[in-house]
């Protein structure tokens, strides 16, 4: 029912656009601009959207993730652009290898009191012949086009979190380097989210389109537990949450490779998961506690201290968080409390 409502709304908007603003006619995705070499100054040059963040090109493949990264409660919309005649490869771990010419697009926004989504920024990830290029775009006041902000941006944002509490934050759009901080594997840019078994597709035809031509390293990829699925064991949910929120840096090839704390590996009672591991370079981030995870003691575990903090220099993740993810912290607190 809800779905029909959304569709009707979109159709109505589309009609209104066609009548009132000729410039809003759909244009195809601009493959030549994706392929480079320039950094497009405006998002419209890429043709991913038609005059509004609410009108993605029909050829884009929308997808969702079971365990998304927490981004200050922002609502995120994710799309894949796959050029004609090429296909993805799905690795043994489900990680998708995209062909050159592909692009990933992710929009961030908040809903206002009436439930209307207001999109603030869109980040694109272009796969060029010389590697991936990450570019952040901030939508203009009228939300008709977005402008490249290589140095990032800050903007005041006010919204209600799921518990109904109103939050006023300084929302940060990452700069181009910060994109790479999270998206770095062995010093090269790389996608994070698209892992086959974690993805779902609102349009069934999209899944089929991706799958029909795809090459799979192996059959039988199993999704992790969803972090918010109460039917699943706490440890699995916590592991999935830590992987989604920490593993992009906390891996042996990521930005936190020097930490010795790794969440892209099975989470368990060993130092690499934080279990009775002492801090290395935490400084005041230790909060005066001795261990990253002290079993049975969430209140003395550095992991939770840092994920609860909003103080730069203490807060984890280091970028992209200006609020506390209460629901995520509840999960990790229960998990550590029950550990022995």
């Amino acid at each position: 029912m809800k779905r029909i409502g959304v569709t009707l709304f979109a159709v109505a908007l589309g009609l209104a656009g066609a009548v009132a603003v000729r410039a809003d006619r759909p244009v195809p995705v601009q493959q030549a601009v994706i392929d480079g070499p320039a950094m497009p100054r405006t998002l419209s040059e890429l043709g991913f959207f038609t005059g509004s963040p609410d009108r993605p090109a029909d050829s884009l493949i929308a997808y969702e993730l079971g365990n998304p990264l927490f981004s200050d409660y922002a609502e995120k919309h994710r799309y894949i652009h796959l050029p004609q005649g090429v296909a993805i490869k799905v690795g043994a771990d489900g990680r998708i290898a995209f062909p050159v010419g592909a692009a990933l697009i992710k929009s961030f926004g908040y809903r206002d009191g009436s439930g209307r989504l207001d999109t603030l920024e869109t980040r694109v990830f272009l796969h060029r012949a010389d590697g991936w290029l990450a570019l952040p775009y901030v939508w203009n006041e009228a939300r008709t086009d977005a402008v490249l902000k290589v140095a990032g941006a800050r903007m005041p944002v006010s919204f209600a979190d799921p518990s109904g509490e109103r939050l006023d934050i300084s929302y940060a759009v990452p700069n181009k380097n910060q994109c790479k901080q999270c998206h770095s594997r062995d010093g090269e840019l790389s996608p994070i989210g698209p892992v086959w078994q974690e993805m779902s597709f609102p349009r069934a035809a999209d899944r089929k389109r991706l799958m029909d031509d795809a090459w799979f390293a192996k059959d039988g990829l199993f999704a992790q537990a969803r972090w918010d699925d109460p039917a699943k064991p706490l440890a699995e949910r916590a592991g999935a949450y830590l992987k989604a929120n920490c593993a992009h840096c906390h891996s042996r090839t990521g930005a936190a490779s020097n930490s010795g704390l790794f969440y892209d590996e099975p989470v368990g009672p060993h130092p690499a998961s934080g279990y009775l591991k002492r801090p290395v370079a935490a400084g005041r981030g230790s909060g005066s506690f001795e261990f990253i995870i002290e079993p049975g003691h969430p209140e003395r575990s550095i992991l939770l201290y840092r994920m609860h903090s909003l103080d730069p220099g203490v807060a984890m993740p280091e970028i992209g968080r200006a609020t506390v993810h209460k629901e995520g912290m509840d999960l990790l607190t229960r998990w550590i409390a029950e550990m022995d």
Binding site: Q181, S257, N258, F291, G313, V314
Partner: protein
């Protein structure tokens, strides 16, 4: 012969680079955050970013990810990047590219670390100042100058004070030189951790909790620290009470430690001047805490204390049983303190005339309650050979 060719190629590349390079000037004032960050992102390899005089009010951490860029200010007191109002990021400036030169500017009051360079090979820090202006405080960031996971590191003519961990910290790296720098009022002055082939020379370490630290810690991707030379440093008056947030390894450093070696293989300490370090001028110990890492060696091995000038010290040690120890040793402890823990006959070596005392412990992590303090009784080491260590020469030539 192939080596000559390679050197020629490097020389040519070095000469060619400045011709193509561009200079981008960034002034302080409105919008400095965005203008400077944009310059750092849009720079091409070989370019130089010149910071004007004055205070740059920063609102977020900065980052540089382009190889071969020089960031140059008008002097460590003239160009100040002020992070007092920083809202995000774990450090003031993050460098993740190779062959970068940072020179002649200051970073003040970053919320986390000062300048971190990670996986940034052949980096030069020259005449950089990092200061927490409120003095020693556990609320200050951890490290002032923080190269990690890098090969080729030169820190020279720099100055750090107020770090709640180490002023200059080099971790999980190799081919390192730290020289001609001043570290004052930090918990640790200079720390070389899980690193190899490091030269620490001609520095002044004063008013820290501990002056110069050489550590190897477990559960890190890079371990096996060693081949470290500490020479011709002035290590004096390191008497600031430890202000590190508990939980960090340096929180265990005792006030008044001149040089501390913990779990390393091959450390040479010679020609330093050490004065008024009230716990110990030199302390050599095994890693003290329990650990779960079979790749890790907790012993201090092949540590050589050569000729140094030892002034007053060991006269107010932060050690249990202090009065008894002072009475037993005649009012001041000998300059070298050792835990006595030896892996395989390869622990501590002393040059002629170097006096020390030992806890006479036998295994890493053994309780101090079981210590049996007494004078060190070792055969003097006469001559010792040590490999040449330090940053590649061309790093130094970059700032001539």
């Amino acid at each position: 012969m192939p080596r000559m060719n390679l050197l020629c190629a490097i020389a040519l590349a070095a000469m060619a680079a400045p011709l193509a390079a561009e200079v981008h000037e960034v002034a302080s004032g409105d919008g400095a955050q965005e203008r400077l960050q944009e310059a750092l992102i849009l720079a091409q390899p070989g370019d130089e970013i010149v910071l004007g005089k004055g205070r740059f009010a920063m609102t977020d951490g900065l980052s540089l990810d382009v190889d071969g860029v020089t960031v140059r200010g008008a002097g460590m007191d003239e160009t100040v990047l002020d992070f007092t109002g920083q809202q995000g990021a774990g450090e003031g400036l993050l460098v993740t590219s190779d062959n970068v030169t940072l020179r002649d500017f200051a970073v003040e009051n970053p919320k986390g670390d000062g300048i971190k360079s990670k996986g940034a090979d052949n980096i030069v820090y020259s005449r950089i100042r990092v200061t927490w202006t409120n003095g020693p405080s556990p609320n200050n960031g951890a490290y002032g100058i923080y190269p990690v996971e890098s090969t080729g590191v030169l820190v020279t003519g720099s100055k750090v004070s107020g770090a709640s961990d180490a002023g200059i910290y080099v971790g999980q790296s190799r081919d390192i030189t730290v020289r001609n720098s001043i570290v004052e009022a930090n918990v640790a002055g200079i720390e070389i951790e899980n690193s190899r082939d490091a030269l620490v020379e001609n520095n002044i370490a004063t008013r820290n909790t501990g002056g110069l630290l050489v550590f190897d810690l477990p559960n890190l991707p890079v371990m096996g620290g060693g081949n470290v030379i500490l020479r011709r440093n002035l290590v004096i008056d390191n008497d600031t009470p430890n202000f590190a947030p508990p939980g960090n390894i340096v929180a265990s450093v005792r006030r008044g430690t001149g040089i501390l070696v913990m779990a390393n293989d091959g450390v040479l300490i010679e020609d330093n001047i050490l004065d008024n370090n009230p716990t110990a001028h030199v302390m050599v110990i095994a890693y003290t805490q329990p650990f779960d890492d079979e790749r890790y060696n907790p012993y201090a091995r092949n540590v050589m204390v050569g000729d140094n000038v030892f002034g007053r010290g060991g006269d107010d040690p932060q050690i249990d049983g202090k009065e008894m120890l002072l009475a037993a040793f005649g009012g001041a402890l000998p300059p070298v303190m050792w835990d006595g823990v030896v892996e395989d006959g390869n622990g501590l070596m002393l040059a002629h005339g170097v006096q020390g005392w030992t806890l006479n412990l036998s295994r890493p992590g053994q309780s101090l309650v079981e210590a049996q303090p007494g004078p060190i009784d070792l055969v003097e080491t006469e001559g010792w050979a040590f490999p040449e260590v330090g940053a590649p020469d061309d790093l130094e030539s970059r700032i001539q």
